[in-house]
Amino acid sequence: MTDRQRQIWIDRAAVTAAWIAALVFFFPIFWMVLTSFKTEGQAIQVPPLLIFEPTLENYLEIQERTNYAKFAMNSVVTAFGGTLLALLIAVPSAYAMAFNTTHRTKDVLMWMLSTKMLPAVGVMMPIYFLAQKFDLFDTRTLLVVIYAMMNLPIVMLILFNYFREIPKEILEASRMDGTSTFNEIRQIVLPLAWGGIASTALLSIILCWNEAFWSIVLTTTDASTLTAFVASFQAPEGLFWAKVSAVSTLACAPIVVFGWMAQKQLVQGLTFGAVK
């Protein structure tokens, strides 16, 4: 076999492996969507059915029995609210750390990230009591604050890295031009790091959207998000697979569509063309 032929075989093997990996990851989602269109009887049939007459009854029943729109709205408000709050805190902090770096900056970042290593359940009780004390239990406000705090370390770390890509001379030039710190952030840093900020925001929104632990622990009815909604379908009598699949599909669909639409906007359009 020549080197060229060997290379072709290696390429084919790699492509095949990638396809297999992709299918393995995609299969559960495919199966969830498929099951959501079966009847409860078909859903637990062994061997599983691949060909069947699809039904919308699960979706209709969910629509009748529950208020999907309310949960979805809670998810939207808490995901976007938490992300916005995290960005409001992270942008000035990341600016300070990226452009006034000291030899302790790395330690500060590491310390912030280390809070992510703490299991959430470890702070469950204090947060639970604080929520009750401040009369915030089962409110969107509480989830917004919790989500912002939860994502803050990661948002900060990513923004810090994006900001550091901005050449220092550009900020110095703006200082020579007489900008205030506020204008420097608003007119120079934010536009230049826009792609990075948008993709950081998207990541944060997805993390908030998929968050289940705090949503289940800290809400009962008013502020529950879609993840709590899915969890609520675990009835004591057992699982209704078809309905749970339908609910899960409804919970995933908005963020998948949103991510797919945003993806095109997220291609970082701004290259730093002014600096060689």
Partner: protein
Amino acid sequence: MAGLTIRNLVKRYGDVQVMHGVDLDIEDGEFVVFVGPSGCGKSTLLRMIAGLEEISDGTVSIGDREVNDVAPSKRGVAMVFQTYALYPHMTVYENMAFGLRQAKTPKDEIDRRVTSAAEVLQINDYLERSPRNLSGGQRQRVAIGRAIVRDPEVFLFDEPLSNLDASLRVQTRLEIARLHERLKSTMIYVTHDQVEAMTLADKIVVLRDGRVEQVGSPIELYERPANSFVAQFIGSPQMNFFTGGDVATGPAGYVDGDTLGIRPEHLIACDAGAALVSGKLELVEQLGEYALAHLITAQGSEFIAKMEKPPAEAYGDTLHFTAIPERLHVFSPDGLSKRG
């Protein structure tokens, strides 16, 4: 417009001192070039004048005003950066107008100033383009334009040509010289390129390790370098140095232990009897207009002679040279010129 006075300027980073009490007077309208090898502190000095580096000790005054604690934008200086540092998300027009907008200048005044600066620099056709779509030379003009519109008392250039290719560098150098002729502003220009320094400067400041080695006009530095560092730094190819046994009979004032400096262009071929220095021919570089003969003395010191025509001798033959006394430089063992 204004001159600049620097008194006992010191810069420390923690415990490390990088500027050691620099004193300097720059006249109104003068074109001053800071030269020195990398790490000599020339850029730091410029950035301290600009206000981008804090002053650890000493004073910087522009005109009669001490500016140590004045914000960069209020010092009446404008800077052109080595990397141009244009705002990539703004058009050329917006780049030039940005500083004026920060200062809340009226719109028609901004328009007038940007348009006139663009005309001077011949960039009026690119005003609506983004920096990304400009060549290196055009970007450099925009960066200069951004400085001009602010109508500063002092222009600061930080190695503005080092990102340009050779032919563009020569052209832009001429344009900067013309600009100075036209605006008559005080300009301070940092470079490590001694050709830029020689061609542009009214006054050259040679720096080494955070200290001023010599201040003078280009011709003064060339003809009367204060020490062997300046002698070596100014002039290309650099000055040859001969010690001890290299020199047949030294000029008046030359004693044992001194170093004799002769520039390659001042060596004159002669007979063995009249020779001041002699060396074995190692290599000849033919440059058309002139030739550079690389030689080595019996003691092993390498030197270069600039000759009108390549020597007839073969490699390995010994050549003899002399020079007129006025062209000789004698340096004492501490490196200082004995000419005073």
